[in-house]
Amino acid sequence: MADTLESVMTKAYDDLKDELHLKRNHSLVKTYILEAHSSSGFSHNALLNLLREIFQESHGARRLAATVSETQEENLFTVSGSRAKGEFFFFIDTADSRFWLAHAISKSDTSALVIDQMLGGSSNIDSAWMPMELLKYIQRLGTPRGLALDFDRRYMDRPFIRRGKAAVLDAEESSLARHEKSDISTGDHFEYVKMQLWGEGTNRILDALSDAGLTNSTTISKVRLRTEAESNSDLFSLADIKYDGKITGRGSSFAVYNGLLTEVLNRYATAVRSAEDKFRIHWRAESGRGKMFGQPFYIRLGPNGVPNLEHFCAKLFSGAEPFKLMGVPIRRNDNYYTVSAVDLHINQRIDFEVSRNTLSIFLPQKSCGNSLLRIYTNLQHFYSSDVKAIDGSGSGVFTF
């Protein structure tokens, strides 16, 4: 596998360096961090069966012909097949049986379609969700060579869609529907930011935006960095790491690239497992009495709070993308809502309580820490870059 991927990486790097575009039959190495959920354990055979099940489930949804095969290496599998008009080939490294690395050498659009179909068709697998704090840490692992910002507030700000025969918009609300600005928007943020900055010194743009008081709409979605072998700078990797766990690589050394992947994977896996240890709420017997373990996970919703709490809850718990949380918000009073929701990524229940300043999340014992990172990361991208995850002591949860 390493030889194959290194060949792909070096060809891609040479193409981009010399001609600024990839040759027809060349592509970047794309690696996707995936998280698997399995009730039957993580032995080699269990992983093989899980992979087959995942592709069978996604095959049932749309046309996806795939063959899952073992290799000579324990816990390394290949998946090959075709999707629409494209062929795809993945190496799936399950050395960490829960957090996988899926390396694709097919064209981006084909491999992306396959990954989307896997994720959409199966609740046994999810992508990684990396908050800004983790991306900033990753950037420091090498020489920063650029970053991308991606913030989209339009879903959260969009006015309500009325349903039912009796719904008649009054004059104020129909005016609201006609205009882009809704009563959730305080007008102090951008609605949509998409920016890519490559080269050295790109972090200065963040300082400029911060100086302009626009930290709430400047969510980092991708970082690019160069890492090198300690002993030989000719062996290097230039990698883009995106918040949804997609990493693309080019350069001269797969070993250097893989070193970066391992560090990213370990950091991410540690964050998820730590979240589970700390925030799964459950009771068990200790010293002859029942004792509660775990604590709520808090997300501070920015310095100005949420002006329209009802709208915020309606959007967050509608079941739609990007949050995919389905629940019925209960209004306890003007300033407090409770929601027992279903996380549609994994079809597990999670409880929420929402004040104007804080989203409190009560993670059940059988739920996954990934849910916390996903919700937090999505709030950064679709609500405000200023949200902050803290624990009961007020300390930041995701510090790297």
Partner: protein, 284 residues
């Protein structure tokens, strides 16, 4: 407060209090027990805070007398607090302001310097009588510990025997929905209870039976109407408290349709039960 809710006073976290137990019974003498609502412990302050909530106007003299026996026992032994936290203690009684006069009268009949009497007021919790051993904790009640009652968490004790049907439905039905989406063939009332009453295994059997019956009633209503195509009881050979879950054929081939249908039925059921949910007009 002990779990550090950012919307509530931080004094308990700052003083290192953690939740030791909820509704734990412990002995204070021969044939004498107490059963406080909550026990909080702080190794840092070398202090145990035993909390009794009173919704009525009267303090039970026998109960006060039992609590006054605590100095005669070792909290480390009888209540399994740590040796540090067991060094000192206070009993905090939290009553309601309208009953202040009667509460004070009742308290005066069984003097106890370790007992702090307080009442809830609009601004928070007001200390009426005596002081806490830890100076830092006592200083926060000046005399009122400010509490925004609107943002007090619900999740730690989401229901009790006095809760309304919609409150049970709020907790139960999402768990049923999740089980249907996972393709589970059946689920029991007990499993549902455990999913949201997290200290289920540590409450009395009688109380559990009570709560199970309330949960069962909600599920019966759901099975008879809004969730009739998904949920059924009284299958042959199955216990009364075990439900069969199905996905109708018309919905089995489309996950989006299934989810939309479940969401709609959940909203309709909550409307039927008159929950204070947000209006059923919002879409994505």
């Amino acid at each position: 407060m002990a779990f550090g809710s950012p919307d509530l006073p931080s004094v308990l976290v700052e003083c290192g209090y953690t939740c030791h137990s909820i509704e734990q019974t412990f002995p204070v003498g021969v044939n004498k027990v107490v059963n406080p609502e909550i026990i909080l412990c702080s190794d840092e302050e070398k202090h145990t805070l035993i909390i009794e909530a009173k919704s009525g106007a009267n303090l039970n003299e026998n109960q006060l007398a039992r609590y006054a026996l605590i100095p005669s026992v070792q909290l480390v032994q009888v209540a399994q607090v740590s040796s540090e936290a067991g060094t000192t203690y206070n009993l905090l009684i939290v009553g309601q302001e309208p009953h202040l006069a009667r509460l004070s009268l009742g308290s005066s009949k069984v003097p106890d310097a370790n007992r702090v009497l307080s009442v809830t007021v609009e601004e928070g919790i007001r200390k009426i009588e005596n002081s806490f051993v830890p100076a830092k904790l006592d200083a926060e009640f000046v005399p009122t510990l400010p509490v925004n009652w609107e943002v007090v968490p619900n999740n730690f004790l989401p229901v009790d025997r006095e809760s309304e049907l919609w409150e049970f439905a709020e907790q139960t039905i999402p768990e049923v929905v999740a089980a249907i989406l996972r393709g589970e063939p059946e689920i029991s009332v007990e499993e549902l209870a455990v999913s949201f009453i997290k200290h289920w295994n540590f409450i009395s059997l009688a109380y559990r039976a009570d709560l199970k019956e309330r949960i069962y009633n909600v599920l019966k209503i759901a099975a008879q109407n809004r969730f009739s195509e998904f949920v059924s009881f009284k299958q042959k050979g199955k216990s009364k408290h075990r439900m069969t879950l199905t996905i109708p054929p018309a919905l089995s081939s489309s996950r989006p349709k299934l989810r939309a249908r479940l969401q709609r039925q959940l909203r309709l059921l909550m409307t039927d039960l008159k929950s204070p949910q947000i209006p059923f007009v919002y879409g994505p």
